[in-house]
């Protein structure tokens, strides 16, 4: 079995590698002079060019800022929205329908429209925040919804006040779902930040647009890889936080 599995992995890896080489060749262009002056990736851009680390860090910081700030604002707003939804049931369908519609509005348009009213940063943060609302509110509410009825009953029966119940039972029990929502929102926003390049922001995606503009694949590869790495790192960090914050959810020895 393991031998067969190893063989399968080997075949898959070889196929992937072959595809990669083929794709790299296609991307590098067919003409030889393009190959010489404009290869898929110029390693010296990353390793010997003095300005690269500073620029990369600057863009990463902008990207991080455009990710973290909207998610934070989104968390605050979604908490309020969720509280309202949990308090007034009829708001539920209204809010989720609205958020669903918001999600179909193309982000380029949202950025462009908002930038006519606000500064670039404000417009970008507003647009990105609005995209986090659906994910965050949905998970906040779903998390609280999924708290076992029995735990709530016990909390009431043991004499917790409404606020104590929320703080000591409902929120901790909803935490895995809430944190998953925050993680997904964060990773989604990392991808969306790139589109704010249409309003001269864009963080790491500036590399992608710039590279496209100058037919300079080095920049595109750099931007792509850096964006994905940033998303992966944030994903791992947030998974770590989830893991640390919910010790009870990971210990499941069958009784």
């Amino acid at each position: 079995m393991t031998a067969r599995r190893k063989a399968t992995y080997a075949v898959v890896l070889v196929a992937l590698a072959a595809f990669g080489i083929w794709a790299a060749n296609r991307v590098s262009g067919l003409s030889e002079d393009t190959q010489a002056t404009n290869p898929l990736f110029r390693w010296e851009y990353l390793f010997t060019r003095e300005r690269t680390p500073g620029e990369l860090w600057g863009k990463t910081r902008q990207h991080l800022e455009l990710t973290v700030v909207p998610v934070l604002i989104g968390i605050v707003l979604s908490s309020l929205l969720s509280a309202l939804i949990l308090r007034f049931g009829w708001l539920r369908s209204v809010v989720f329908t609205f958020a669903g519609v918001l999600y179909t509005i193309p982000s380029i348009a949202l950025f462009a429209v908002l930038v006519t009213y606000y500064s670039n940063e404000t417009a970008a943060i507003t647009a990105l925040t609005s995209y986090t609302l659906l994910i965050l509110t949905r998970n906040f509410v779903a998390g609280i919804d999924a708290v076992p009825r029995a735990a709530l009953d016990a909390a009431d029966g043991l004499g917790m006040s409404r606020f104590q119940r929320l703080r000591k039972v409902e929120i901790p029990l909803a935490l895995p779902v809430i944190l998953t929502g925050i993680r997904i929102a964060t990773v989604t926003v990392v991808g969306l930040v790139g589109i704010s390049a249409v309003i001269q922001l864009g963080g790491l995606a500036i590399y992608i647009f710039d590279g496209f503009n100058r037919d300079y694949t080095t920049l595109m590869v750099l931007g792509t890889v850096a964006t994905i790495l940033l998303a992966v790192v944030l994903d791992i960090v947030l998974r770590g936080i989830e893991w640390l914050a919910t010790p009870w959810a990971r210990r499941r020895v069958a009784p």
């Binding site: 076992p148 735990a151 709530l152 043991l158 006040s161 009870w248 020895v253």
Partner: protein, 370 residues
């Protein structure tokens, strides 16, 4: 004796949109230090009634007092913290360890850590939770263990009143029987005023000091001690609810000690042949039991004895008594013994072996009739 009496006076509950009230005006007294069982078919409002006591449900009308105080005069949280609460789904907080779960109410009451920890240790021992489990999370425990923790959590702040809503409904029959025995043993030590809801008549009869039978709509049909309930159901509803085997059920409920025992075919080991013969004949059996200084020593068939000897039983080898009962044995056990014994007579001796008397089918019949 600790404990507090609970009084329900004209308590009614109507839910919005329902045609009939869930609980019709209900008068009920729950005696201090007793287990009172609420039982009835689905929709009889037994759980609603229970939940009105700690105000998880507010009565539409009527007054509930605990120890003479109207429960509405206390703050909701204070009231609930002074009442233990155990539910069928257990409702342990999955994100808190067993120790933290047990410590819920002490923490709410602001006990210091040392006192809380001591109490958690005591309770764990009381309900039979191993100290090593305290650090675990509920998902790592079996259903029976979880329910023990549920009981411990309810008892944490030593509340005088304990409300239990089908506490053993979710565990398998073997574990349930264990937990029921444990509850009785526990109650013998703590003497709480317990109100317990169940739909299982056997559980009600086993656990209850008094059983309250409710009909659909919260109508009170009968309040009685289990034996009385079985012996004389107030009406057809109660009779059908307790079932047509109530005579058999009484057998498992009633104990040998309540019977008027016969003297039985038992004589002292030094008795004369005539006495032996007389005793065996009186009981209508062909054997005789022997006591030594009041303790049951064994039996022997009469035909094996040389009745003309001075004391036929001395020097005769006695056979051990198999058909032997204790005062605490149920009548059901007595019946079993009688049916399988050599003759229709069982002998009763207490823990020390002191002979008390004999039981026959007739003894049981007349005991139940009384």
């Amino acid at each position: 004796m600790t404990g507090t009496a609970i009084e329900l006076r004209g308590v009614t509950k109507s839910f919005a949109g329902a045609d009939h009230p869930a609980v019709a005006p209900l008068d009920l007294t729950v005696n201090a230090g007793e287990i009172t069982v609420l039982i009835g078919p689905s929709g009889c409002g037994k759980t609603t009634t229970l939940r009105m006591i700690n105000r998880l449900v507010n009565p539409t009308d009527g007054v509930i007092t605990i120890d003479g105080t109207d429960i509405r005069q206390r703050s909701l949280t204070d009231l609930r913290r002074a009442i233990g609460y155990v539910i069928q789904q257990i409702g342990l907080f999955p994100h808190r360890t067993i120790a933290q779960n047990i410590a819920t109410v002490p923490k709410l009451l602001g006990w210091d850590r040392a006192r809380t920890n001591t109490r958690v240790g005591e309770l764990a021992e009381l309900v039979g939770i191993d100290a090593s489990m305290l650090k675990r999370y509920p998902s790592e425990l079996s259903g029976g263990q979880q329910q023990r923790v549920g009981v411990a959590r309810a008892l944490a702040a030593d509340p005088p009143v304990l409300l239990m809503d089908e506490p053993f409904g979710a565990v398998d029959p073997i574990v349930r029987a264990h937990l029921q025995d444990e509850l009785l043993a526990l109650q013998a030590r703590v003497h709480k005023t317990i109100v317990l809801v169940t739909h299982d008549i056997d559980e009600a009869i086993l656990l209850g000091d008094r059983v309250v039978v409710l009909n659909v709509g919260g109508i009170l049909e009968q309040v009685a001690a289990p034996d009385d309930l079985l012996a004389s159901p107030a009406n057809g509803f109660v009779a059908s609810f307790v079932g047509n085997e109530r005579g058999i059920k009484r057998l498992s409920l009633a104990r040998v000690e309540r019977l008027a025992l016969d003297a039985g075919p038992v004589v002292d080991r030094l008795a004369s042949g005539a006495d032996i013969k007389a005793a065996a004949d009186a009981a209508g059996v062909d054997w005789v039991g022997a006591t030594e200084s009041g303790r049951l020593a064994g039996w022997v068939p009469v035909e094996d004895l040389r009745l003309d000897a001075a004391a036929p039983l001395t020097g005769t080898e006695l056979r051990p008594v198999v058909a032997q009962l204790r005062p605490s044995s149920s009548l059901r056990a007595a019946l079993e013994v009688i049916l399988t014994a050599r003759s229709s007579t069982a002998l009763v001796a207490d823990e020390d072996g002191t002979y008390l008397g004999s039981v026959t089918l007739e003894t049981i019949r007349s005991g139940l009739a009384s």
